[in-house]
Symmetry: C2
Subunit: 385 residues, 2 copies
């Protein structure tokens, strides 16, 4: 951890004033934040306590001035370590009123009677509070209205600061080292569930704060899906083992995978792996400011999927940062223009045989001159155990 907040206070102030400039453009008198990444983005509030669904947390970004936290008292000490000074608390859980009166009070102070309050309502968002409480809030705040947030926070988060990029690079470095140690740590005959446990330990030993995400598979000549939990089936010769990790360092994720052949590999597996690596580089080679997300999709899809059918995964990569996956999605319909500071995963998948796929993933950041790899790029030859 570089500082208790992860960043200098100046960075949070900059994020807040950037949001406020956009709020003015969109006629919003406040942003109401309810989810972990939204709240952390403006406040630096970093805790694994979000794992508990019990308590709602609210932060308000006013049209001018610093954000206001309306939070359970159990979080007051941690929030107080940061830069937010206006922290209003209640003893949650409260079955009569779980912070709603306090929230109504704060919003009523800040938002004029005809004002509009922005709440994230678009794809990849949800509102982390009970729906009945949101409905109560809407009535109590009337004639103020709760409207979409004009995607302001999503827009700001899509372009990372150098300090954010450094954290993602650090996380990716941890995963690089963990992947490099896999051949010494696992072997044929080991149950996949045990492989998963060992790999998570490798990530921790190499410096991960925690390992929120690990998916993978091991099957002959590829795998049927990439989201199943590990079974106790032992690694067998001819299997392709895939491990895909989203580990966290100081609140930022990396997200990439590596494939390992258990013993010698079939020619079609080797060829499929070549195509994945070639596809990744085809996208990375053109990934510079001015190019679109759709261009990256086409560069990869032409190599891994010349028939042009839609793959089950639905996309060939995505944004990355405070969350394992962030906006945008690398699909043909996404015409987002790349700008420096965007961090993306390139994640092509390819069909090896009927019902068997391989997936490969790398992490890049867009620079003025092109893509910089944050993960150590994998060579064309699959790793062998």
């Amino acid at each position: 951890m570089t500082s208790p907040l992860g960043f200098p206070v100046e960075e949070f102030k900059q994020r807040t004033s950037a949001a406020q400039a956009l709020m003015a453009q969109h006629g919003l008198s406040a942003l109401m934040l309810t989810t972990e990444p939204e709240i952390r983005y403006y406040t630096g509030f970093l805790t694994r306590f979000w794992e508990s669904p019990t308590r709602p947390w609210f932060v308000i970004v006013p049209a001018a001035g610093d954000p206001i936290a309306v939070i359970p008292s159990i979080g007051a000490h941690l929030m107080g370590q940061g830069w937010i000074k206006d922290i209003r608390t209640w003893a949650a859980p409260d079955y009569e009123d779980d912070g709603i009166a306090l929230l109504i009070g704060a919003l009523s102070e800040i938002v004029p009677a005809n004002g509009r309050i922005g709440l994230a309502d678009q794809m990849e968002s949800h509102v982390r509070m009970p729906l009945a409480h949101l409905r109560r809030l809407e009535i109590a705040l009337s004639p103020r209205t709760i409207v979409g947030d004009a995607m302001i926070t999503r827009h700001l988060r899509m372009v990372k600061s150098e300090a954010e990029i450094d954290k993602i690079r650090h996380a990716a470095g941890i995963a690089n080292r963990a992947f490099d140690r896999v051949p010494d740590s696992v072997s044929a005959g080991m149950p996949l569930s045990e492989v998963f446990r060992r790999f998570q330990c490798l990530c921790l030993e190499e410096g991960a704060d925690w390992v929120p995400y690990l998916a993978g598979a091991a099957e002959a000549a590829g795998y049927a899906d990439v989201i199943s939990p590990a079974t106790d089936a032992p690694l067998a010769l001819g299997d392709v083992l895939m491990l895909d990790t989203g580990l966290v360092w100081d609140g930022y994720f990396c997200d990439f995978d590596r494939n390992f052949s258990i013993g010698s590999l079939a020619p079609d597996v080797a060829t499929a792996h070549y195509r994945l690596i070639d596809a990744t580089h085809a996208a990375a080679d053109i990934a510079k400011p001015g190019v679109t997300i759709a261009d990256l999709f086409q560069a990869m899809n032409g190599i891994v999927n010349p028939s042009g059918d839609v793959m089950e995964a639905g996309r060939l990569g995505h944004g990355l940062g405070m969350q394992l996956t962030e906006w945008p999605s690398i699909i043909p319909q996404d015409h987002t223009v790349l700008v420096p500071g965007m961090v993306l995963t390139l994640e092509p998948s390819v069909i090896v045989r009927d019902g068997k796929i391989l997936v490969h993933e790398e992490n890049i950041v867009i620079r003025e001159a092109g893509a910089e790899f944050l993960s150590q790029p994998q060579s064309r030859d699959i790793r062998v155990i």
Copy 2:
């Protein structure tokens, strides 16, 4: 993993028919499920892929018959391994229509025009889909209405089956062994961040599938809060180190902590620890069917907090199972009557000195004859490193 679903199909059918009986009582033609634990409860769909916020997932429990899954195609293979046969998919993410038309179609088929669709809207719940899509859904389904779910799923989940209790006990056993190994794995001078990493490895080595939650602290004579991430500050003589883990085995959590004195401890710390253990046992001793949650609160609070002030934590324990924390909360306002099969944490906290607290936690299950400990109960004497 005991089976690909975690339970025999019969258990999912029983859960579904129990929900349907309550739906009939409450006049609901369908339940609409959007969150991980709700969907897993009825379908057995277990994956860490929920870490990605990109895709919404929907399951519908109709008034009669088996649940229907309306999910991204990336999940079709895994869902297809289970007992749900009606699986409708779309290639998510889809910027034009991210599953909403498919969901409208399924609900329109199942729910009569004057029917009511139950959606969780109470405390500890949220709706995991974009708010704008929910609003679109409400309009499209009209005159059908989306109403609260009468807390049906929360009610059912509060009482665990023997198979669920076995999983929680197994998870707790892993944590017991990990805690026992802490004195051999950490020592004065080690940064707290390193302690956290090593403890997570101990949990994995002892059999955890993953470690979604670890909180803790190490400060002289107690700690200021229990939700902060680890700093790099080294353990010092006189510190109390607290580690609180929610580790998962086969989809079920344990949730308890242990305190460790680094070297010899101050008399007021020792006394505080005695009171925590005594409070835990005071609650466990009376925890039997017919007693209320409020009674458990009073049994603990009289020992740890004789002044009766509200503690910052806001509660002295909670439900436990598929989530780190579940309904109910152990607060004086909760009059839930205990019944066999409820799994609870008892989590008293006590003020040692100004601004310094200690927290202790155990996991129990309510049996006909009283409480059975799922965690190995801690003795009065604090553990020493």
